[in-house]
């Protein structure tokens, strides 16, 4: 019959109109900012630096190896080594900047980091009126505690902690083996 398709369409929109009042599966809209979606664990936005202990700067896991700086596809990371008085580079960053207006959240820095020191954050309300002052994050803005890391990525953080613990034990075992072996060699 002519008009059948059009009438079917009308029924469909009417069904949706009615459904929008009682069927929550149809209404996917969230009333942001009053309502917020719980982010999935894997969700990522911009990187941050993990620190252990209480001091955000001293506890940084970063050893300033600059691998992430080199591998970053859009080149948004900028690292300068800390140096001692004689100019010898120390294993600590003096400057660690991430320009989040350039960063494309690709997570490659996280993947290449051999020290598990840079991870992806989930914070997303980052709008600012100052391009250079607010959107270039410095070391102190980036440093976040291991607890925070556990909060946002619990599974991943547990795995990382286990790996680090194993590495530390291995390292200690080697050290103790070395120290237990050295005395006889001295004699």
């Amino acid at each position: 019959m002519f008009g059948k398709g059009i009438i079917k369409g009308f029924i469909e929109t009417a069904r949706n109109f009615a459904g929008s009042y009682h069927d929550p599966a149809r209404m996917v809209t969230l009333q942001y900012p009053e309502e917020k979606r719980a982010l999935p664990e894997n969700s990522r936005n911009f990187p941050f630096l993990v620190f252990d202990g209480n001091d955000p700067i001293k506890g940084l896991r970063c050893v300033s190896c600059k691998i992430c700086e080199k591998e970053c596809p859009p080149q948004c990371i900028y690292i300068v080594n800390e140096r001692d008085e004689r100019g010898k580079p120390l294993k600590h960053p003096k400057i660690f900047d991430i320009d989040i207006s350039v960063c494309m959240s690709c997570q490659i820095c996280v993947e290449v980091c051999p020290f598990d020191s840079i991870k992806m954050d989930q914070a997303y309300e980052l709008s600012a009126t100052e391009r250079f002052k607010k959107l270039i994050l410095h070391k102190q803005d980036l440093a976040k505690s291991n607890d925070y890391y556990h909060r946002i990525h619990p599974t991943e953080a547990d795995a990382v902690d286990a790996i680090l613990e194993a590495e530390r034990k291995q390292h200690e075992a080697k050290k103790s083996a070395a120290s237990s072996e050295t005395p006889p060699a001295k004699q």
Partner: protein, 405 residues
């Protein structure tokens, strides 16, 4: 619940009559020289106020309704449930910068929204809103209505031409072709009512429909010719007011904004309002011609202008529903629809109306049913055949697909 509702309706009907009397009385206190002018001022003020608030209400309803049809919430931020959204829209429109293109014809560009708006408000004057509530009860009200309404074609073309924008130009050309084409079926569809009622006065047409079959009304729409005429009238009215699916003159996915492309701020708002006013006007006419105007839907309920507005809003809701569902037709299909389908069908409908009129003498039992079947078949069968022939000639049909491995 029902009782309180009924009581409220009767109370309102009484109030309505009282209000009219009070107004008459108040006016009669004035010196006779002032009376006419005072009447005009009061009427114009009331009508502009009523229709402006109706406009605000229907923009809100449209946005809410479309939102719900699309599984969105619609505006809900301004005021409780977003009720103040039209106010916010209005403030936004008024405070926007008015941009006129450098190459535009300034005078015509400025006049176009006014030329659209003024005749449309004129056409409100002849609509009978309630018993004795006709601002301008002309003997040829219908003629006046169409004469005033067709000025909007000029406005669309003025806007399209004066903007000196190719999209505006295309939109203006589309508008003028479309409106002139659809004026024909619109007029002919209303002619059938004129033929049956024997009058061109809109108030008289409503009064002719004040008859009852037990408790059900005998509106024109409840006759075969009226039903067909109403359907054809609504389709033509959608095209005449540039509503979806016939919103080609401003088809924003094709020609950006059509003739309104180069309008901004308050002038755009006037265009926008004009579009809604046009919709109210033709819906009002449809209510008058086919839906019994101010008459109540059941015989024991009092007549009131509220019925008129309720029917009008129901039609507006239908317009919104259509807009939420249907895609737009193409310009050549639109012309085909007007000249090859609607126009012949409305002409045929005149004959069907005549048939209905002359078979009224059949008083035998079952005569009514026979008349219905006969007249309905006389209009429905050609409609279906013509539609099918159109689909066939263009090879439009649902398809079956094959699959490869």
């Amino acid at each position: 619940m029902i009782n309180t509702g009924l009581a409220a309706i009767f109370l309102w009907a009484g109030l309505e009559q009282g209000l009219g009397k009070l107004l008459d009385h108040g006016l009669s206190l004035l010196p006779p020289a002032w009376r006419t002018w005072a009447t005009i001022v009061v009427l114009v003020g009331v009508m502009l106020g009523v229709f402006a608030s109706l406009f605000a209400l229907s923009t809100l309803l449209e946005r809410k309704g479309l939102g719900r049809m699309q599984n969105r919430l619609g505006p809900n931020r301004v005021g409780p449930y977003g009720l103040l959204q039209p106010v916010a829209d209005g403030i936004k429109m008024l405070t926007k910068e008015d941009i006129v293109p450098r190459g535009a014809d300034g005078v015509v560009h400025f006049l176009a929204p006014l030329v659209l708006f003024a005749p449309l408000t004129l056409s409100f004057a002849v609509l009978p809103y309630g018993r004795h509530w006709v601002p301008l009860n002309l003997d040829a009200g219908l003629l006046f209505f169409f004469a005033a309404g067709s000025a909007s074609e000029l406005a669309a073309f003025m806007a399209g031409w004066s903007s000196r924008n190719k999209y505006s130009m295309l939109g203006g050309m589309r508008a003028i072709a479309q409106m002139i084409s659809f004026e024909m079926p619109l007029v002919v569809a209303s002619l059938s009512v004129v033929m049956i009622s024997g009058t061109m006065s809109l108030a008289a047409i409503v009064e002719r429909q004040e008859a009852w079959l037990w408790i059900f009304p005998k509106w024109n729409v409840f006759t075969p010719w009226g039903l067909a005429g109403f359907g054809l009238f609504i389709v033509a009215a959608m095209a005449e007011t540039n509503r979806s699916p016939f919103d080609l003159p401003e088809g924003e996915s094709e020609i950006i904004g059509g003739f309104m492309t180069e309008y901004s701020g308050f002038k755009y708002a006037v265009f926008f309002m004009g579009e809604y006013f046009g919709m109210f006007a033709v819906s009002g006419l449809a209510v008058t011609l086919f839906l019994g105007g101010w008459n109540a839907p059941l015989s024991f309920l009092p007549a009131s202008f509220l019925w008129f507005f309720a029917k009008l809003m129901a039609l507006v809701l239908v317009f919104i529903w259509v807009r939420g569902t249907l895609p737009r037709v193409r310009v050549d299909q639109l012309m085909n629809l007007a000249w090859k389908y609607l126009f012949p069908m409305t002409l045929l409908n005149l004959f069907v109306a005549a048939l209905w009129h002359y078979t009224a003498v059949w008083r035998a039992p079952g005569g009514l049913a026979l008349r219905w079947v006969l007249c309905f078949a006389a209009i429905a069968v050609p409609c279906a055949v013509l539609a099918r022939a159109m689909m066939r000639s263009h090879k439009w049909a649902p398809r079956v697909y094959r699959f490869g491995d």
